[in-house]
């Protein structure tokens, strides 16, 4: 903004300065020409009538022909008229050898003066020694120039507030929308695809805003379509999976009485069906988060009891060191808290092995383990869907969506989960809920 204003100011001053310089030169040259040109013409007309060497009378006649505007000199002689002392000495010296008219503008006195020296030459070009000197004040044009300069400065000072106003207006009209567009683009980049900008108006920026909006709309639509696709696929998988799932128990129960290869096949189909079921269930859950169809059912709960129940329900009570003080109450969705705890503790047991600790303090549940910890480059992605920190493990026990689901559940509560490595080694997951 400041730079913009400075530019406007400089522009106004430069424009005024440039026009001043141009006008000044034009005016002075014009005044000079209108003084010099008739003089040169008159001198040329009279020159043929002059006898060389001239007498005092000849010089006086010449001067009167020139209406007394000039002084004519020949060696020691000088026509009657103004004093020659004003003429600069170096000009007088220069004219002695000059074959052309010389002139000089002097501004060292109060008013600028132009001096003109005209040498009279013979037909062969050699100087006759007769010189015509004339000078005139350029005070009139200078005064015109001064008043013009004053007018220019008055103009600048009048225009300046207007220019500043215009600059502010332009800044509002251009810089603000540009800044808004920038902010919107960053928001879009960070994943908020419902970002739109105000696109009212008919100028180029409004066009750009409309282009931005339609691009964002397309992006949002294509993301919605791909999410819809995942939801539809998962949904379509459910019916066949229900049929398969219904008979896995039959396969398991009868496997013992089957031929060995068939038994292996039956158990494999049965186990993989259950895994596939878990995956599809998790995909459906993620889809519901993406479509905003998951709702919170908040109730007042004793968090310590809730966590203890979650551990007990999965048979983890003995393998987890739980520090769960009673009396920590919180408004949470009991089932979603259970999902978070189950996923965090399940993850810790899977990767951390022994030494899994769950520590409750008001607003915070910390799940830590004694495992190898999380590789630093994996930390930012640990809650990504299907992200696997250990690439050597091609397929894990879980669906690869557990931590992503835990994270979504925390977010639905308005809370967060952070993943970090403890200074003593091992991973630490910190759940913060605003209960």
């Amino acid at each position: 903004m400041a730079a913009f204003l400075l530019l406007t100011l400089l522009g106004a001053v430069a424009a005024a300065g440039a026009s001043y310089a141009t006008a000044r030169n034009l005016l002075l040259e014009d005044a000079q020409d209108s003084f010099m040109n008739p003089l040169v013409k008159d001198v040329r007309d009279y020159a043929s009538r002059l006898t060389v060497p001239p007498a005092q009378q000849d010089l006086d006649d010449f001067a009167s022909y020139l209406r007394g505007a000039a002084v004519i000199t020949y060696e020691g002689l000088r026509s009657r008229g103004p004093d020659m002392t004003l003429v600069p000495a170096e000009m007088r010296e220069a004219l002695k050898t000059s074959k052309t008219v010389i002139w000089q503008r002097r501004t060292d006195s109060a008013e600028p003066v132009v001096f003109v020296g005209i040498p009279l030459l013979r037909a062969d070009g050699s100087p006759t020694g007769v010189e015509v000197w004339a000078w005139t004040s350029l005070g009139g044009p200078q005064r015109a120039i001064d008043s013009f300069a004053k007018a220019a400065w008055v103009g600048v000072s009048l225009v300046l507030p207007l220019a500043l106003g215009l600059a502010l207006f332009t800044a509002r009209g251009v810089l603000r929308p540009v800044r808004r567009l920038g902010a919107a683009a960053r928001a879009l980049g960070s994943g908020r695809l419902d970002t739109r900008v105000d696109s009212r108006g008919t100028d180029e920026l409004s066009d750009l805003a409309r282009t931005f909006n339609s691009a964002a709309e397309q992006l949002e639509a294509s993301q919605a379509a791909s999410r819809r696709f995942v939801a539809d696929v998962s949904h379509e998988l459910r019916t066949p999976l229900t049929a398969m799932n219904a008979v896995t128990a039959v396969l398991d129960e009868d496997a013992a009485s089957l031929p060995e290869d068939t038994a292996v096949a039956a158990r494999l189909v049965s186990a993989e069906t259950r895994k596939l079921t878990r995956l599809v269930n998790d995909l459906m859950e993620i889809s519901r988060f993406d479509e905003g169809r998951n709702l919170l059912e908040l109730d007042e709960w004793d968090i310590g009891t809730a966590v203890r129940d979650s551990l007990a329900a999965r048979g983890w009570s003995s393998s987890v060191d739980a520090v769960l003080p009673s009396g920590v109450m919180g408004r949470v969705d009991r089932r979603r808290l259970d999902v978070i705890v189950a996923n965090l503790v399940g993850n810790a047991l899977k990767h951390g092995g022994t030494g899994v600790r769950v520590v409750l303090s008001p607003g915070v549940i910390e799940v830590s383990d004694n495992g190898p910890g999380i590789p630093v480059d994996a930390l930012p992605h640990i809650f990504d869907r299907f992200y696997k920190a250990d690439t050597a493990r091609s397929r894990s026990e879980g669906s690869g969506l557990g931590l992503a689901i835990a994270w979504e559940n925390a977010r639905l509560h308005g809370g967060t989960i952070e993943a970090a490595n403890a200074p003593t080694g091992g991973a630490v997951f910190t759940l913060r809920l605003p209960w």
């Binding site: 019916t239 229900t242 049929a243 398969m244 219904a246 039959v250 129960e253 519901r288 709702l295 329900a313």
Partner: protein, 222 residues
Amino acid sequence: MVLLVEDDPSVREGLGLALRRQGHDVRAAGTGEEGVERLRESRPDIVVLDIMLPGIDGFETCRRMRMQAEIPIIMLTARGDDFDVVAGLEAGADDYVVKPVEPRVLEARIRAVLRRTVSEPSTVERHGSLLIDRAGLQVLKNDEKVALTPTELKLLLELSRTPGRVLTRQQILEAVWEHDYLGDSRLVDACVQRLRAKIEDVPSEPRYVHTVRGFGYRFGPR
């Protein structure tokens, strides 16, 4: 006997097989209309009903079955959608399971429903104008029999066991539905609504089953 209403032949066959191996007699129907028809002619103990059905959907089928008999109905919902669950419970379902269903979960729910019709050796109690017969498993209001589903009856029996005491939704879920520690409390709310519609004079101003905000329900004629 279990009546299974499911349009997908493979699911029908698979679930039928699993249920038969658990010792149930299974009848199957492919549409809602067929299910309503089967209910009339075969008098099953329980209905397992899919929500997504061609023709009349699961909700409508549930309502029609409810008009015919006080039969326990377990809904099969293909989505975990809250909307489906709420609509199913409003249509009169006693319980629901989400597809792809674990056969042992479905089995546990069926057993729990069937246990609701087990009578207790007890005397007849009178609460206001309600007469509750725990041995005969029936409820009279102003000496007229009230037609309750097994779930509604069991809910009333559990609530009236300790008049004046507040039972949390979780306690009720464990006692009536035998759900393990994380049941859906909406089952309780939906069933209380249905029970009130049958035993209260003005369901919106209950005399018998009172809501205790934030906790649960309390029984006590007032």
